[in-house]
Symmetry: C2
Subunit: 353 residues, 2 copies
């Protein structure tokens, strides 16, 4: 499967004996010109390798990833970035497969930043469930990149944004970003994409009870999935319910009336309306200058959150600091010390080191 | 007015000549035993002074504030903490005055952490509009503390939480915390209080367009204000509309059905129902062990946000750093560098200093 080739072949051509000796230098032997050329020519292999460099925690590999990205930066930004969320069981991967297949068949090149559900167990990035998006993975116009959920900001890989840019440089027209639908992941993914799609199930009232607060107001469209068979009538009722609620909510994007639609990923019905909605959205946002404006703001927001993340990580890099923090947190929780005193204590223990 | 006495008399008893000489030491002459005794006896003067110490940016004054707070910590936590928000014009101060008067007349001691609308202009903490809560300010059971909006986290003073604790140690039964209703202030205040009240105006659909996203899901009650005169019928219709929307939203607190109520602050009608709602809420939350649990979690969350705030402040303490940041932000916005590169650059410029 081409999906994993980047990881598997990272040390291609190096014998076992040489791996140890050159392990730190192995990343430095790449031919950058070749990478830039091949990525832009659409080589999945080189794209996958470049993403692996960007995601790497080894600093010189990371540096190569950044260098490649910088050289490709002028070729990015030409895709439609679509985030897809929904409660577990809403059928996210089935929808992405059906929607992605339709787009590929229309001639678009589609990259999917997928969640790897097995990664927290294996520590790796291997698709545990081989049947996930199997058909789409074989389509010549598709590229699926599963990301480990480890090393993430609220369930989104820290480098997802840069992976997206690499896919754009490789000429993908549409990027589909899947979210785990827990924690802060929706907010973070909303901050990465142009269009945010909430996948819902029939029975809005019940489902909303389990939905993250404010999530509906992040969505640019609500798509009720599994509108097929005996469920079809109920799906239409759910769409009507969502429309009613949406009427009262603040819109996700300026001057946009968030629509509710019904689809069947199984019977591939309604998917064309979803795509049509996205194209109308893009047209309207560009007319209002909101498309590029939002992207620039998103980039700056990302910059700021990366700074906070880095400050936090640097500060808590030592075991002692983490232990002090745990002790202070417990004292604060039990109201033995004030928050201000605990903060002072935490920062003074830093200066002593 | 007793409200400001803490600030005005901070240097009482010191001639002009001595102010300069002892200015750094003046804060150190307080009799701590006297403060602890007088605050617990209900002296507004000592309470106001203690708050001023806690809010101070002068480190030895701040240390006194923290010392007082620490000694009083075991006397805190016995109030009902109520946050009040609403769009500008919803009548927050009118509502707080009417609601506070009713509570005071019932025999409760009520502290109000109010917003000082003039503070951003004057830099001080003087109530610009003298008529704001004038009646309540004169009530023997009330204590009003206006806070400057400067030095805030999203419109909430960084020390509001500690001010609240001091008021509790001084025996106030109910703390009303006003929010400016912009930026992150609702989320921050929701993280400080037991009960969060959203003050709304008639005409839900229209008003919601201007309301911050997700705000309704933070509220434990929605109170439609100005339900008087010609407006009364419309207010009832608005209450019904809110009830309908609330039916679809996730509740703010576990197992709580957020009610919508109509009040007239002008004619003092419906205020008793609001108070009754709060008492039922408290009873139910205590039965579920959710009351204390939420408070502990709030304290830990506050601790964490203070750490991030401090890290950010320390990092950007130099002018050079702020300038580097501004330059990098502009490069990031225009996609001249990647976010990762900008972060690297920002942190490497730090280590050079």
């Amino acid at each position: 499967m081409h999906v994993m080739s980047g990881i598997k072949s990272q040390h291609d051509g190096m014998g076992k004996a040489s791996v140890k000796k050159f392990s730190k230098k192995s990343a430095l032997v790449i031919d950058q010109e070749e990478y830039l050329r091949e990525i832009q020519k659409g080589s999945r292999l080189h794209l996958a390798k470049a993403i692996t460099f960007v995601e790497s925690t080894v600093s010189d590999q990371q540096a190569i990833g950044q260098q490649l990205l910088k050289s490709l930066l002028s070729h990015t930004g030409n895709s439609i970035r679509i985030g897809i969320t929904g409660v577990p069981g809403a059928g996210k991967s089935t929808f992405i497969e059906a929607f992605g297949m339709m787009l590929c068949d229309l001639g678009y090149r589609v990259a999917v930043l997928a969640i790897d559900p097995s990664s927290t167990l294996t520590g790796g990035s291997i698709l545990g469930d081989k049947t996930r998006m199997e058909e789409l993975a074989r389509h010549p116009n598709a590229f699926i990149r599963p990301s480990p959920t480890a090393g993430t900001l609220g369930g989104v890989h820290k480098k997802s944004r840069e992976t997206m840019l690499l896919c754009e440089a490789a000429g993908y027209d549409i990027i589909l970003v899947e979210t785990v639908g827990v924690g802060q992941s929706e907010t973070i993914v909303r901050g990465m994409v142009d269009f945010f799609l909430l996948l819902a199930l029939t029975g809005a009232g019940d489902e909303l009870q389990g939905m993250k607060k404010g999530i509906m107001e992040l969505a640019d469209a609500i798509v009720v999935n599994k509108a097929d068979g005996a469920n079809e009538k109920l799906a239409k009722k759910t769409v009507a319910e969502y429309k009613q609620i949406l009427h009262f909510l603040a819109p996700s994007s300026p001057y946009w009336n968030t629509p509710a639609l019904a689809v069947s990923s199984l019977y591939k019905s309604g998917l064309d309306s979803v795509w049509e909605t996205i194209l109308i959205f893009k047209k309207e946002m560009i007319e209002q200058n909101a498309w590029q404006y939002r992207r620039k703001e998103q980039t700056v927001d990302w910059f700021n959150s990366m700074i906070v993340d880095r400050l936090y990580r640097d500060f808590f890099s030592s075991v002692e600091k983490k232990e002090t923090m745990a002790q202070l947190e417990s004292l604060v929780r039990d109201e033995k010390v004030t928050v201000s005193q605990a903060v002072e204590e935490l920062f003074s223990s830093n200066s002593k080191q």
